[in-house]
């Protein structure tokens, strides 16, 4: 892959009057944003045909920095707003940029239902295992034993595997990478964007400030090392026993299929309605 210089991407897609971003040094959100913009750039999509939607959280601030139509909504509800956008104008391409708490806690219900309906949206998910914006509380993704301000002695709950959840709920495309798998990451986003129906690309993303600091990983490099330790590529995981996979996070492409999307189904439904009513042949 030929990579354009970062400043070209920046100059082409970011809103200058919104810079600098609010992100802390070492935060992974900027990297994932860059991958998303590179994917759009390589696909040659116009800025006028894409709408960005988000909920609330550090990750959800992203639509403010990019020069596209953007709806920064309420915590957890991005996909519900996206349903209105996509269904009222199916010509638009919709990207939802979300945090893990946003997606899987307060937004959990909207998440599974958007997937069940196969809403044509691409979710770019920042999984930093914590609530970044509110200062490091535990999230539904926090691994057991890791600390957050609301579980200072280490989380005692079972975490969600968001990618697996998305596969089970019926998503058309699901992949998970760490922010350091940038080539795979960009390629996955490209695939996801082109896919009709629900697509999700999850990134394990460092939050040294709210998360790392409380878990003896104060810097991004320390988090990189940890990600290397806990992640296993999907091909390798296939030959590992459940015991060996205990505490590991699988990365790679989980599913790639082409079930019809919600807007396609609705088009057919409209035709059916008119036929049943004798309005059309």
């Amino acid at each position: 892959m030929y990579l354009k210089l970062s400043y070209e991407i920046r100059d082409k897609y970011l809103r200058k009057d919104m810079l600098p971003t609010i992100f802390c040094p070492g935060c992974g959100i900027g990297s994932v944003l860059q991958y998303t913009l590179r994917a759009i750039d390589e696909l040659g999509w116009s800025k006028d045909e894409v709408v960005w939607v988000s909920g609330i959280g550090c990750s959800s601030r992203v639509p403010g920095f990019v020069d596209f139509d953007g709806l920064h909504t309420t915590h957890g509800r991005a996909l519900a707003f996206a349903t209105g956008i996509k269904m009222a104008n199916p010509d638009l391409k919709v990207i939802a940029f979300m945090g893990d708490g946003d997606t899987a806690a307060i937004g959990g219900n909207h998440f599974i239902h958007a997937i069940r309906r196969n809403l044509d949206v691409t979710v770019i998910l920042i999984n930093n295992f914590t609530y970044g914006m509110t200062g490091g509380q535990v999230a539904p993704t926090t691994l057991k034993g890791l600390r957050g301000t609301t579980a200072p002695y280490g989380s005692f709950e079972n975490p969600f595997d968001i990618a697996e959840l998305a596969v089970a709920a019926g998503a058309n495309y699901v992949a998970r990478w760490t922010v350091f798998n940038y080539i795979q990451g960009i390629n996955s986003i490209k695939k996801a964007l082109q896919k009709k129906g629900f697509s999700l690309v999850e990134f394990l993303s460092p939050c040294p400030i709210s998360f790392g600091r409380r878990n003896r990983m104060k810097t991004a490099p320390e988090l990189i090392k940890w990600y290397n330790k806990i992640t296993v590529p999907i091909s390798k995981a296939k030959n590992m026993s459940p015991e060996e996979l205990e505490g590991k996070i699988i990365i790679g492409e989980f599913v790639d299929r082409d079930r019809p999307s919600l807007d396609e189904e609705y088009e057919a439904y409209k035709k059916r309605a008119k036929k049943i009513m004798g309005w059309e042949e």
């Binding site: 519900a80 009222a88 638009l92 239902h113």
Partner: protein, 387 residues
């Protein structure tokens, strides 16, 4: 255009059905909802009609999602509506505030039932007035209409869309189980005879740069809808005229909120709608709205026949509220009576408006039944005697 129901003639239909038909005629092409008694018939009618008029009707996972979806649809240019009852309306409050803050035209119907909580699902009440006006957090304003008949439910639905579009704000149609489920004759006009309002769009790139600025001096910014190449950023955070988040600037916050409140407050005269019956020479005023106003009209006639000079002010809009008009009425009469199907909601607004110039008495009723005219008469007479 072909309509899936008769137009240009009258029909005998339920209030909920009338709201759905009126929405279609008002140009609504996006409906999202979640079933709840006594509002479900609105959704069922929309589900029947929408695909036939190339609109969308979708059953969401809950009411939070329903209002979120219609806000999203509004930002791509659709006239959009949802309908619910008390419990669902409570769930919508956070996103109702979002719609106010982002100045998104939407119509929300609340077919009131008795609460709190799941209460009396099939029975009417007027317990959501304060929730409609003040339910969301923060300082804000919006528009709340209160139909008393099936015809009014029809007419006010169209008006709700027009006001929402004109003022770039949520408009709430606050009806109740009685109006929602009752069947009455409704005149459905020819679509060409219905006056429709559409939101003001930016007329050029320059205007589109200020999606939250008072560029025309009328406090209502043109709305650069998505997908037209304007690349607008919309946030529920406090934002400047360009829509950029400015969360800790007191002056920017004050300016934004004052404009959002003032665009309703300063246009009060255009929005407020009421009717009077026998009020000119009245010594006793009844102030009522919604279904109860129908009993109140009859009560006025009965009181007059017994020699008590009564008159009625029927509120068709309960927010914005005309406090000054209430004060004028209070100066003219000895007492004001407010019959409501609750333990006092509009009563408090009236009392504030009366400003001590007249006695204000609440005639409360709860439990799901509408006041009978006799009950209102009795309450008025009892009180008039005790003075």
């Amino acid at each position: 255009m072909k309509y899936p129901f008769p137009v240009g003639k009258s029909d005998f239909i339920q209030g909920d059905e009338a709201i759905a038909r009126a929405a279609i005629l008002a140009g609504c092409r996006f409906y999202a909802g979640y079933p709840i008694t006594p509002a479900s018939e609105i959704f069922e009618a929309m589900a029947l009609y929408m695909p036939l008029v190339d609109g969308v009707s979708i059953q969401m996972e809950d009411e939070l999602a329903s209002i979120a979806a219609i806000i999203g649809a509004s930002w791509v240019g659709a006239k959009a509506m949802t309908a619910t009852s008390g419990p669902g309306f409570s769930l919508m409050m956070e996103n109702l505030g979002y719609a106010i803050m982002t100045e998104t035209p939407i119509v929300v119907v609340d077919v009131q039932r008795s609460g709190p909580s799941t209460g009396q699902p099939t029975l009417a009440a007027q317990g959501d007035v304060m929730q409609a006006i003040w339910g969301t957090h923060g300082d804000h304003s919006l528009i709340v209409l209160t139909p008393a008949t099936v015809q009014e439910a029809f007419d006010m639905t169209i008006r709700a869309f027009n006001l929402a579009e004109k003022y770039r704000t949520p408009a709430i149609l606050l009806t109740d189980a009685e109006v929602g489920h009752m069947r009455e004759k409704v005149d459905i006009p020819n679509p060409e005879d219905i006056e429709l309002v559409y939101r003001k769009l930016p007329s050029n790139e320059e205007e589109a740069k200020y999606p939250f600025g008072d560029i025309h001096g009328d406090l209502i910014p043109p709305m650069p809808i998505f997908g037209k190449g304007y690349r607008t950023y919309v946030t529920g955070l406090t934002h400047d005229e360009k829509g950029r988040p400015k969360t800790v600037d007191a002056e920017i916050h004050r300016k934004l909120i004052e404009r959002i409140v003032n665009k309703i407050e300063k246009n009060k005269k255009d929005i407020i709608d009421y009717e009077t019956f026998d009020l000119d020479d009245a010594e006793v005023a009844i102030i009522s709205y919604g279904i109860v106003a129908r009993s109140a009209i009859r009560a006025v006639k009965m009181l007059r026949s017994e020699g008590i000079k009564a008159g009625l002010l029927k509120l068709n809009v309960v927010w914005p509220f005309d406090f000054e008009m209430i004060e004028k009425i209070a100066e003219q009469v000895n007492a004001i009576y407010v019959p409501e199907m609750n333990l006092g909601q509009v009563y408090h607004l009236v009392k504030e408006g009366a400003n001590g110039k007249a006695r204000v008495e609440l005639i409360p009723k709860i439990g799901g039944e509408v006041h009978t005219p006799q009950e209102i008469v009795k309450a008025v007479k009892r009180c008039e005697k005790c003075i």
